[in-house]
């Protein structure tokens, strides 16, 4: 119950969340969000070392909401999944959908169809089992992209 109480109410929205076995949300808050990017149309653009695109901006806004700064790294989808599994990344984007074949190895968020420039619903990848972290991200996206 104590762990539950600690994990309650991330952004003052009355949202109830579980906890992170690896403590991702607590570590990111007020610190660094290590995000991975794989280029995908207008959603994720990579220009030299500069990561942009509508999905990348959403991640940066989310980082703001937990007072964190995003450190981007770039790679193929498999590189990003390896990074999430190894605990080197907290989040990965690349225009993946619910049909992503990586769902055994990483957690997949709900699909969001209101992401600007997306042709269909897109998902974000987070480490397996970091449920408070995933809930915080999904909660933020729900509010940001509210229908």
């Amino acid at each position: 119950m104590l762990a539950l109480a600690l994990a309650l109410c991330v952004a003052g929205c009355g949202l109830t969340v579980p906890s992170d076995p690896q403590g991702t949300l607590d570590r990111v808050r007020g610190g660094e969000l290590r995000a991975g990017a794989s280029a995908s149309g207008e959603l994720v653009t990579i220009d030299g070392s500069k990561v942009g695109g509508s999905l990348a901006r959403l991640v940066e806004d989310f980082a703001d909401s937990v007072d964190a700064k995003v450190t981007w790294s770039e790679g193929s989808e498999e590189d990003l999944v390896d990074g999430l599994e190894a605990g080197e990344l907290d989040l990965a984007i690349g225009g993946m959908t619910e049909a992503t074949p990586w769902s055994d190895r990483v957690a997949v968020t709900r699909a969001y169809d209101a992401v600007p420039g997306a042709r269909g619903p897109v998902v974000l990848l987070v480490p397996l089992g970091e449920n408070a972290w995933q809930a915080a991200l999904e909660g933020y996206l729900d509010r940001k992209l509210a229908r």
């Binding site: 969340v17 579980p18 709900r110 397996l128 089992g129 449920n131 809930a135 999904e138 909660g139 729900d142």
Partner: protein
């Protein structure tokens, strides 16, 4: 349904059978609702997935009971001289093997997930403008559906001995133990909620071991009846008391020196062979017929009886208890 093969069902059994059919249909309806409800919330929890598949498996005994009933009512024919009673045993075996196989697979999944330290992910859902952790819905659904099996489990457990139906008995027995799986899945989900990721896998393992155990017990019981073990009570706890009663009853006849009985469970009804060593070498036809009648009067389950005069009793047949009888019958 008034008959079962060549057996006329007494009023109490007809009533129990109608009631059992009603409960089986109710259980199927209830279970289908729970399967749909769990489908909405199953998420990334192995414990929930295991409990969900267990619910699907729990339909097999009910379906095989209802299908078997269509067959066993048929009277015996030349082609099927013993009737179709064994269909119930085949259904029992199918249910047992399905539980064993799927339970084993689920146990393997749970163990390998634990060994790989796979942390279960349970996301959120967006309802009425709120983002709510899916785990709360899992707990809510499981808390609601835990109630049903108590009712139908106990109802069927009362009917099974009346009908001497082992499928019904096993079904009731599993329903009565179903709450342990449901509670385990709730514990697993709440464990994930507080960050104890391994509780989910442990709960899944607990549930799947339960499924394997049910599968083992049912397969074993079904196979033993199909290979004609001595008839036992519907809970397989002890040899059926009718064996001794039949042997004692036939030995009451004055022309009988000693008797022994071989009785197998056809599924609901028994097939009885009574070996008789007569006092005198001259045995009359009506004496045999009288003995047969006396046995069939004992119980509705023993209508398929043969009485065989013989010089000595076979060792494997169950002898009468050799109480000197007062009445000559």
């Amino acid at each position: 349904m008034k008959t079962m093969g060549r057996t006329d069902l007494p009023a109490a059994q007809q009533q129990a059978l109608r009631s059992a059919i009603g409960w089986e249909w109710f259980t199927i309806g209830y279970t289908l609702v729970t399967i749909v409800l769990i489908a909405f919330v199953v998420g990334g929890s192995q414990a929930m997935k295991t409990a969900w598949i267990e619910d699907m498996l729990s339909l097999i005994p009910q379906i095989s009971f209802l299908i078997a009933l269509l067959f066993i009512r048929r009277p015996p024919t030349r082609a099927f001289p013993f009737g179709h009673h064994r269909v119930m045993g085949v259904g029992h075996l199918v249910a047992g093997v399905a539980l064993l196989a799927v339970g084993g697979d689920l146990a393997y999944e749970a163990i390998s997930g634990l060994l790989r330290a796979e942390h279960p992910s349970i996301g959120t859902v967006y309802v009425f403008g709120q983002t709510i952790w899916l785990g709360w819905f899992m707990v809510a659904v499981m808390s609601v559906i835990v109630i049903g099996p108590f009712f139908y489990g106990h109802a069927k457990a009362k009917l099974a001995p009346k009908l001497h139906n082992k499928v019904l008995y096993a079904d009731a027995d599993m329903a009565k133990a179903d709450w342990t799986s449901t509670v385990a899945s709730i514990v697993g989900v709440l464990g994930v909620g507080v960050g104890l990721w391994w509780l989910d896998g442990a709960a899944a393992l607990f549930i799947s071991v339960g499924i394997v155990w049910d599968g083992w017990r049912n397969s074993r019981a079904a196979i033993r009846d199909l290979i004609d073990q001595r008839a036992r009570t519907e809970d397989d706890a002890r040899p059926h008391p009718l064996i001794a009663r039949i042997a004692d009853r036939v030995e009451e006849f004055a022309w009988v020196r000693e008797t022994a009985v071989r009785m197998r469970d056809m599924g609901q009804v028994f097939h009885v062979e009574v070996f008789v060593v007569p006092v005198d070498v001259d045995v009359r036809l009506e004496q045999i017929e009288d003995a047969r009648d006396a046995v069939t009067q004992l119980d509705w389950k023993v209508q398929d009886v043969v009485v065989i005069p013989t010089a000595s009793l076979p060792d494997e047949a169950e002898p009468a208890k050799r109480q000197p009888s007062a009445s000559g019958a």
